[in-house]
């Protein structure tokens, strides 16, 4: 996956908060049961308007696969690695469970997985992606909120969306350079 820069572009206006992404991710990646355990999630924004004219937005999110990932800087044993294509992942056997990465991540994208004995998080479903398939959350989304692809390829759908529409990232002031882009 050399010369690639993988990213997800999200159109949150399409999100209906069905949480199919969270469920698909849990099933695909064997995320253990338990309230604290998830790799991706849907945040609910505050209600807008007054009854009966109400509106609400949702922000699905996950590991931002930052270009400048604080989790990788702080990990004492290099358990967090960054692939050349930008996928940030944890090498289970190197994780000592200090949870420094959890305190360093401004997105709360990490949790401790007791079953594998390491900190766990979204990997963009690397095992699927390297077989040419889509991440489970992207494939399952019924309203096509998420588009996955290579932003170094100008002809990819993610590049076309980013060229066509304005977008934002979460917490830009942190300087983490996230690779989840939210269309505005």
């Amino acid at each position: 996956m050399k010369n690639k820069r993988l990213a997800i572009v999200l159109d949150t206006r399409r999100c209906i908060d069905c949480k199919a992404c969270t469920v698909a991710c849990k099933a695909e990646n064997r995320v253990p049961l338990g309230r604290n355990n998830y790799r991706n999630w849907v945040d609910e924004e505050a209600l807008r308007g007054a009854y009966p004219n109400l509106g609400q937005s949702f922000t699905p999110s996950q590991c931002q696969h930052c270009a400048n990932p604080p989790c990788a800087h702080v990990c004492p044993t290099h358990a967090t690695e960054v692939n050349p294509d930008g996928i940030v992942h944890v090498v289970d056997k190197k994780c000592i469970g200090c949870k420094y990465c959890q305190t360093a991540c401004p997105y709360n994208a990490r949790y401790y997985n007791e079953e594998i004995g390491a900190v766990d998080k979204c990997t963009f479903c690397a095992h699927r992606v390297y077989e040419g398939r889509l991440p489970a959350c992207v494939e399952t989304c019924p309203t096509k909120v998420r588009v996955f692809g290579d932003i170094n390829d100008p002809n990819s759908e993610v590049s076309r969306l980013l060229a066509k529409y304005p977008s934002r990232v979460l917490k830009p002031a942190q300087g983490t350079k996230p690779h989840l882009f939210y269309l505005i």
């Binding site: 604290n36 945040d43 702080v74 000592i96 469970g97 305190t103 360093a104 300087g175």
Partner: protein, 383 residues
């Protein structure tokens, strides 16, 4: 051991208390080994660092403080501070080891750490430096203790000097473990490395006042003049350290309120008026700083007994100071719309198992020290 127990009824009571504390701790350890961290600790995805981390900080601050204050004697040549050198360094070793024990219970894989910290080190990680610098510091402390016991002054001086440098490096770096996290505005910045060193002096002074007082008390003799003079000097010094600490605490609060900086403001308010307010105002401010400083500034209460009480209260206060610092930095959620918020903040209270391990670690430390006090020739040399 039996000889010690026969020694005095008070030491029988002391050893029984510590024995109960250690059993409680052992039950906690067994519980977590059998059931796993996730089932018996109250730390969570959002608040991954709890009372075990803050107790680790408390214990290693104590170690650093003991090393720094005892350096005044056998490194910087202030004669008044020389006589408790062995005791201070021994206790510095024990508090450090018990601190390591506490953090090992928080780490999910302490053994993996020993391997991968060596074969896969990450030099940009403050935790890697923390392990390395504290490891080095431990070796130097042991060397210093050895030379002190052998009465080899030159060796003790060299080790003491290196130990002093290692203590300052390791402990300011521990502040950096928190201070380098840009995601946590309450901790982020150069403040914590500086503050950690200063508060170590307060911790060290407080514990040394306890050491000197109780060591003497235990001997059952009248306090020699030299001890009395030392306690007076230590009391004055401790008053100065506490006033500088109060200055630091004030300057921790003001930037947290001024202009309401996002996340830092909410964490500061949690300390001042939120879930940590009682800990802050009662334990940190009143017990930890105001009462001790009042006792120490007043000439009539700056007696050996008064200095000891001030030290005891500061030590309690500082334990809560560590806890509040560690928890406050994590109370503000990293995500908007996160679940389980109480009054806009996340919630953490230590579990019984976490508390048991803390009780066990502190009891073990005191037990080992008392044992060493009976078994090793720690009696000071005459100067």
């Amino acid at each position: 051991m039996l000889a010690i127990l026969k020694h005095r009824p008070s030491s029988r009571l002391w050893f029984s208390l510590l024995g109960i504390g250690m059993i409680v701790g052992a039950i906690g350890v067994v519980n977590v080994l059998l059931k796993g961290h996730g089932h018996v600790y109250n730390v969570s995805r959002e608040i991954p660092w709890g009372i075990l981390i803050s107790t680790y900080v408390f214990l290693v601050v104590s170690s650093t403080g003991l090393c720094l204050i005892s350096s005044l004697g056998h490194v910087f040549g202030i004669e008044k501070f020389e006589f408790f050198g062995k005791r201070a360094i021994l206790l510095a070793i024990l508090t450090l080891l018990c601190g390591f024990g506490t953090i090992a219970m928080e780490l999910n894989h302490p053994l993996r750490m020993a391997l991968y910290a060596v074969i896969s080190p990450n030099f940009t990680s403050a935790i890697w430096w923390m392990g390395t610098l504290y490891g080095l510091y431990l070796v130097l402390l042991c060397g210093e203790f050895y030379f002190l016991m052998k009465g080899m002054h030159k060796g003790a001086f060299t080790m003491g000097m290196l130990g002093f440098i290692a203590a300052v490096s390791a402990h300011s770096n521990l502040g950096a473990v928190f201070g380098l996290l840009e995601a946590r505005p309450y901790w982020y910045g150069p403040f914590l490395p500086l503050y950690f060193i200063l508060s170590a002096l307060v911790s060290g002074g407080a514990i040394i006042s306890l050491l000197v007082y109780f060591h003497h008390k235990e001997s059952g003799e009248l306090m020699p003049q030299r001890y009395g003079e030392f306690m007076d000097t230590l009391g004055r010094l401790q008053a100065l350290f506490l006033m500088i600490l109060i200055f630091f605490v004030i300057w921790k609060i003001i930037p947290g309120l001024y202009g309401r900086p996002p996340e830092k403001y909410e964490a500061t308010m949690a300390v001042l008026f939120g879930p940590l307010a009682f800990n802050f105002w009662f334990f940190e401010v009143l017990i930890g700083m105001l009462i001790p400083v009042t006792l120490l500034l007043n000439r009539r209460t700056r007696t050996p007994l008064g200095v000891m009480y001030a030290g005891l209260l500061s030590t309690f206060g500082i334990f809560f100071m560590r806890y509040d610092l560690v928890v406050a930095g994590q109370l503000v959620s990293m995500r908007e719309g996160a679940a389980d918020l109480v009054g806009g903040l996340l919630h953490y209270a230590p579990s019984l198992t976490e508390v048991a391990i803390v009780v066990g670690a502190i009891s073990l430390c005191l037990f080992l020290y008392t044992l060493a006090e009976h078994l090793l020739p720690l009696r000071e040399e005459e100067h």
